[in-house]
Symmetry: C2
Subunit: 571 residues, 2 copies
Amino acid sequence: MKIENIDVSAYPKSEKIYVEGTLPGVNVGMRKISQYPTVKIENGKRKEYPNEDIVVYDTSGAYTDPNIKIDINKGLPRLRESWIESRNDTELLDDITSDYGRQRRNDKSLDAIRFPLTHKPRCAKNGKRVTQMHYARKGIITPEMEYVAIRENLDNEKRGIKTYITPEFVRDEVASGRAIIAANINHPEAEPMIIGNKFSTKLNTNIGNSALSSGIEEEVAKAVWSCYWGGDTLMDLSTGDNIHETREWIIRNCPVPMGTVPIYQALEKVNGDVSKLTWEIYRDTLIEQCEQGVDYFTIHAGVLKEHASLVNERLTGCVSRGGSIMTQWCVLHNQESFLYTHFDEICEILNKYDVAVSLGDGMRPGSTHDANDRAQFLELEVLGELTKKAWEHDVQVLVEGPGHVPMNKIPENMEKQKTACSEAPFYTLGPLTTDIAPGYDHITSAIGAAIISSLGTAMICYVTPKEHLSLPNLQDVRDGVISYKIAAHAADLAKGFPGANVRDDALSKARYEFRWKDQFNLSLDPERAKSYYLESRRDAPDADDKFCTMCGPNFCAMRISQNIAEKCNKE
Amino acid sequence: MKIENIDVSAYPKSEKIYVEGTLPGVNVGMRKISQYPTVKIENGKRKEYPNEDIVVYDTSGAYTDPNIKIDINKGLPRLRESWIESRNDTELLDDITSDYGRQRRNDKSLDAIRFPLTHKPRCAKNGKRVTQMHYARKGIITPEMEYVAIRENLDNEKRGIKTYITPEFVRDEVASGRAIIAANINHPEAEPMIIGNKFSTKLNTNIGNSALSSGIEEEVAKAVWSCYWGGDTLMDLSTGDNIHETREWIIRNCPVPMGTVPIYQALEKVNGDVSKLTWEIYRDTLIEQCEQGVDYFTIHAGVLKEHASLVNERLTGCVSRGGSIMTQWCVLHNQESFLYTHFDEICEILNKYDVAVSLGDGMRPGSTHDANDRAQFLELEVLGELTKKAWEHDVQVLVEGPGHVPMNKIPENMEKQKTACSEAPFYTLGPLTTDIAPGYDHITSAIGAAIISSLGTAMICYVTPKEHLSLPNLQDVRDGVISYKIAAHAADLAKGFPGANVRDDALSKARYEFRWKDQFNLSLDPERAKSYYLESRRDAPDADDKFCTMCGPNFCAMRISQNIAEKCNKE
């Protein structure tokens, strides 16, 4: 199998820049948008005033660097490999150790769809823990920590914007568990990023096939598209065919941390028969994926046997796939969940690869009716207990949250999470603030996501217009990402995150001065902004009208306002 | 000119029902959605459990009543005419009294585009005030008041849901100014509706041509489309050709209250030359539109001469068209705004037709940077002063708000409005919570609109995806309306508005039980929900899968959850 390069067009008037750190190899990619000058007529003469470059956070990695040749069949440059090697606490294994991984590798019939290159898996040396949390607690500032500090700050220093984010601050937040840097040693292609309440709000996108849809090439395209538009992390939720091979293609080409829900694949391995799930199969699945390079696992270890009956009190029962699988398992076997009973062992696997655990909310409400109910909050208490346990193993933790929550109940949910989970970063799906708009749930949920982020949620998981109805296609991924970029950025503005307003102010200035092209170029989706503009100005494709297309030349408030300003200044 | 009937397809499984009041002719249209039964297999036998009908608020008027023949060239039935007549405080004029109105009528060249029928204008008898506020203050419950009380309550009584909304309550809220029923005696086609913090959150849509676009037929189609999808009121913001004739077509076919910004047309009358605007031209424009049946006027009477210089302190100056026009007028003439100096006279015109005043926020911030600044809040104080003055004339009042406001500044804005304007209903445009997403401003603003409504804003003005870029087409109107239905409904849920959760709960139950068609039919946009579903289930157009299309048959949490419930119940 050979995948043609997946085309992502460059952002107009944008340039990839790199900011160097002090540690070897720390070179942080950002996107610099240049602007046209402001033109004024003064004393009958045309005068130009330059407008500053705007530097923005860039999740697109090598895909927007014209100096790097992209070949999907070879994968991305392995940015972090030398950092990991130089720590000297890991070793390359001669062979993969997962049974299933080996079985897939030895299956010749899969050669046709396999990622062409192989990398030997890396693992911690015996007795070593290799997590960013482990290093942070030892007082070490890793290149990853310096990288994310630079990345969060953009060009704030140059602008004289005060920031509190230093490599030391990053280290302390990671050590305390209030932030995580998800960075599997087997995914050196990923650019380090940080998830925590005191950092810019991040967004996750979900892709993945199901039994009903979609092949490998389409999933890889969605992954690249997601990073291009601004996804900070990516979850592959595939439940269809060839999950192992699909994941390999995605990880090798993914510049952001990648997460999975291992129970999905474990269930595929027993042909969907929940009763046949065992700890051993699950364990082998963890190792298989650790060796491939998954950066974080959603693990629904807070779903307990005693919670099963609570599902019946609800309007919409259990809508978490992982949660429902584990609940069913507990009921069928009349045993406590193996994810819960084996949680220490899970952590001991994860800290050998630095895979973060994202504690799944199996009891998240699937309707506004069920929000903040007993099932949800009882599980949250368990997640708090598991958070502390993971931290004992130096495993980095995210805590997942809902779901469907009416606006008035969002603050209580956020508060409970902070208290129960000792300020481990909260990672929510929306929440959707009403149930009545299937087809528009990117919007119902962007409202909830913006609110909950402004209150302290560190990462929001996007919802596409197809939520509840179908799997997203490329266009849905784009719509979902932009909706969540909006929610995340609105929250950053509300939190007063250092420098968050720079882009807003630049775009608004461009808008006011009728620098249309700058307005487009500074926006989250230049292509769409421009195409909407051109719908009513097909005769003016150069976009240099000195009035707003909504109002026409005589009714443009901004033009009139400028006339007033000129008049007032003259007087 | 003859307009073909504008087609709006009926909502599936929906039926127009009417709830009768006690006063003559009070017959309130609602939409009843019927559901399929829940099917269970019990002891090997198929058993059906019926699901209740869901009654929803309906803004589509006669357009969705199969028993009323729609002819755009004749206009809608004149629902309120007999109520107005029977009050015996108005009279039919032999002729229109506006100079401009007569001039247009006598212009034969306009015959080709004129609405075919004419109705004599109605006006209060000498010395009479005919506003709903006037009646309310006298202790009278009008048919309009009973109508809106029934309309707000839907079938809450039948369901045993406690409500505080009675005709007496409506009367008291209108008397106090905390709510308005915008209902010009010359727009008897409109179905009464109420705007106030204690009632369901309403949404306004803007349509209208500009010099760059759009003819009469397209604007009428947008108006009908807006009501069909759920717009509660409609503003015609036309600034292009034939404003007078376009408005006549729209009003005669508009089942919801219609608003305008009269200064736009006044400016057209002086060919866009702000210096030539006079009180006399403006006054004649008010009368022209009062006689046509406009239900509320946006009047930027709070923009004062002394505020002009504040515009220069801003990043984006003055972005309100009306505000910028009046500011320029003040500067050019070095005089106080004629809207401010003639405000009593304006009110004396308005209370003869029951046209509400919507106090325009000429100083609304056009960027998050300018939010809650001095210019904005100084004007708000003036709007508070004008609110009291209007109330002295028994004129109903809305107060307009921003604009662009970051989330953290929304509560302060809401509080200031409540205090400054004695709880007159607040009517905001969004607000947009970030400036960086042109092309997606229905989303940036739905976030702000949901938040500010939940805090007490009574009506939100939609923003379409084309905001800042172009005028909306039919598709944009639909996207804008649904986004704002979401924001308004999310706010109603958050406020605990009586019965707001009924539709959410019904849809969620349908979703959980895989009653796909009910899920679509109960949604805000059944057509879109269904079409998204079918994208991945072209082979199953009957939509009776017993699993979710996102997860496929083996991974459906809801299916598994139901299996668990069955198992738990058996044990």
